[in-house]
């Protein structure tokens, strides 16, 4: 649907009332404030206070990393700025140093633990023959035989061990150093065996200390989080208020605040902010308010990853919520893989991170669609579990499925140009622009249908008309427009191609696994292991492929027909 209308407003307030008006706008939370002008605001007290708050916020961000995050509390009224600053400073003075010491020590220990693991892996690779020699000097590689140099072998490498003593030892070491890479054993002061024991002991001690630090940090999280979250939220709100004047145009007496709001909230503004004079301006580069309810909420991610529709343009999220799972299911089309997609969605849902939870709905719908197409194509981990196709067997009726893919593509593309026509009409675009931007594709389709039914004269005339419109729109490059549409249409053949790839690899995995079953004694184990490995591989590769290609069919083929991006999302100025 077309993105909702917004009112462009300007509020003129006296500088004495500025703070109060900002506070009221903040609590109303209905206006998206934009830059009013490029005029620099004097470096007045509000900006100095903003710097103080900004410094405090930095320290709180550090605490957020060091302590486990908790969801912020909501606040109705902001406490006064100075009280907040004092409170935050006292809180930081009391706790920041303790947290910092524990956090830095933990990070340092983890780094050293990694170093020890690396040193242990060097020692583990060394040959048994050198493990009881004190401070051995070893080089990796082959070398001609020498007195005082012994060749020793591990399972991985060939080494040269210096066995000479005194000046000969130094001479041989220098000679080998010029030709071979010396094993770095600078951390070994005794024998390899003793060094390993020491490293393992040290590792255990460090792991214990890290656990102790983590326990202390967890205790601090439980103790400090409510206060920290409260102060962080309040500081952020003050910071937003203090830095907002950067966007205003001001002189010595008055300030102009500019922004956008929904038409039904304009009266609230005039009622609640009597100090300001409000007037409506012409919408110009207005932000876009996107619907965040129902299916839109989950599939919004797919649109947002590409771009935000510009103000007054069509928001394609509704279409995506229908076609994305449809394309995904067509391409993966397997009952077993669909169940695995649902399982993945369930696993993500059980995680606590809200950022990843937005994908669970997309995965669930896509998983169900995969199962439905799997039933239609009779595929259950290939043919591992026999299933009768309810619609077609992809390998036997590929040409039929190719036609089905292209028909689906045609429907998708026709929705695209129809939407573009609707968008042009609602935007009251000039008639000729509307015709050149939206009608070439349906005219080409009509021409192609007439040619198919041997009405050559009319068919060719329509194709020439469509090309003329494209040339008018795009210049001489427009002559390629017809083949461009044809290419876009054929691109939907990937639905079949990827579907066959998923089924084909699954069948190949099953065939190879069944061959392994005939191996004596270990046949059963190799059969099971290969089935798990093969289907996991196929699942991973084709889920990735289906995800990308379902998005691509929208971003490249579909959006090209109507999408008007480059918008800024409507973000009202309000408390977090």
């Amino acid at each position: 649907m077309i993105t909702p209308e917004l009112k462009h407003i300007k509020l003129i307030v006296s500088n004495d009332d500025k703070r109060q008006v900002i506070r009221k706008l903040h609590s109303l939370g209905t206006v998206h404030i934009t830059e009013t002008s490029t005029d620099e605001l004097d470096d007045d007290t509000s900006l100095q206070e903003a710097r103080t708050v900004s410094d405090l916020l930095l320290s709180f961000k550090y605490l957020d990393r060091a302590l486990e995050p908790r969801s912020p509390q909501s606040i109705d009224d902001l406490p006064p700025l100075q009280r907040t600053i004092d409170e935050a400073q006292t809180f930081l003075d009391a706790h920041l140093d303790d947290v910092k010491a524990l956090h830095e020590d933990k990070q340092d220990l983890k780094g050293r633990l990694d170093d020890y693991d690396e040193q242990l892996s060097i020692l583990d690779d060394l040959p048994e023959a050198v493990k009881d020699i004190e401070n051995p000097i070893l080089f990796i590689g082959e070398h001609e035989e020498r007195n005082g140099v012994e060749t020793v072998q591990s399972s991985q490498q060939t080494y040269q061990l210096i066995t000479a003593t005194g000046t000969r030892k130094a001479r041989l070491t220098k000679e080998l150093q010029d030709n071979l890479r010396r094993v770095d054993l600078s951390f070994v002061n005794t024998t390899i065996t003793e060094a390993r024991e020491e490293l393992n002991d040290e590792k255990q001690r460090m792991a214990k200390t890290i656990t102790e630090h983590e326990t202390k940090l967890n205790d601090l999280t439980a103790k400090l989080s409510p206060k920290r979250d409260y102060l962080h939220t309040v500081l952020k709100a003050h910071y937003d208020e203090l830095t907002l004047p950067n966007k205003f145009q001001a002189n010595d007496d008055i300030t102009v605040i500019e922004g956008y709001c929904e038409p039904n909230t304009v009266n609230d503004l005039t009622d609640n902010i009597p100090e300001a004079t409000l007037y409506e301006a012409t919408p110009d580069e207005a932000p876009t308010k996107l619907k965040q309810d129902g299916v839109n909420k989950s599939f919004r991610t797919v649109t947002s990853m590409y771009d935000t529709p510009r103000y007054g343009a069509f928001d394609p999220t509704g279409y995506i919520s229908l076609f994305y799972p449809l394309f995904f299911g067509f391409m993966l089309a397997d009952i077993g893989y669909g169940m695995l997609v649902l399982l993945t969605a369930l696993l993500i849902e059980t995680q606590t991170q809200t950022t990843t939870k937005q994908y669970t709905h997309i995965l669930t719908v896509s998983g169900l669609s995969t199962i439905l197409f799997g039933i239609a194509f009779g595929s259950f981990f290939g043919e591992l579990i026999p299933a009768t196709p309810l619609w077609v067997q992809p390998f036997e009726e590929s040409y039929y499925l190719l036609k089905a893919s292209l028909i689906l593509g045609l429907i998708h593309m026709n929705i695209g140009w129809t939407t573009n026509l609707y968008q042009h009409i609602t935007q009251r675009q000039p008639l000729f622009k509307t015709i050149t931007n939206t009608l070439p594709l349906p005219i080409i389709e009509a021409g192609a249908i007439l040619l198919y039914y041997q009405a050559y004269t009319t068919g060719i005339t329509l194709l020439i008309l469509a090309t003329a419109l494209l040339v008018k729109r795009d210049g001489i490059i427009g002559v390629l427009g017809t083949s461009d549409y044809l290419g876009t249409w054929f691109s939907y053949a990937r639905l079949l191609a990827l579907s066959l790839a998923t089924t084909g690899i699954a069948l190949a995995v099953n065939v190879i696994a069944s061959m392994m079953y005939s191996i004596p004694i270990i046949g059963g184990i190799t059969y099971t292991a290969f089935l798990i490995f093969g289907h996991t591989f196929n699942y991973a590769v084709n889920v990735l492929s289906s995800t990308i290609n379902a998005a691509r069919l929208h971003y490249v083929e579909f959006f090209d027909l109507f999408f008007q991006g480059g918008g800024t999302q409507f973000t009202p100025f309000k408390l977090p």
Binding site: M305, Y306, S398, Y399, L402, G487, F490, S491, A493, R494, L496, A497, I548, N549, A551, R552, Y555, V556
Partner: protein
């Protein structure tokens, strides 16, 4: 004669898929390395870059369409 025709159709389908896959593979390699570089600079570009990396696949899809038409329309 019919066997020769079937053989030639199969070879044609193989060439259609083989060369278009080769071209797509080279194109995808170039696009993906550039996309990986861009994503390393700015993580928010990940989605667009994944699509860029998948763009050259279209060529192999065209080859695939030709192969299917050869096998099922001309090959009976």
């Amino acid at each position: 004669m019919a066997e020769i025709t079937t053989g030639l159709i199969a070879i044609g389908a193989g060439i259609a898929i083989g060369f278009s896959a080769l071209g797509s593979g080279i194109g995808q390699g170039i696009a993906s390395s550039a996309a990986a570089g861009a994503t390393a600079e700015d993580e928010s570009l990940l989605a667009k870059m994944l699509v860029f990396a998948a763009l050259p696949e279209t060529q192999v899809i065209f080859g695939f369409v030709i192969a299917i038409i050869l096998l099922f329309v001309f090959g009976g």
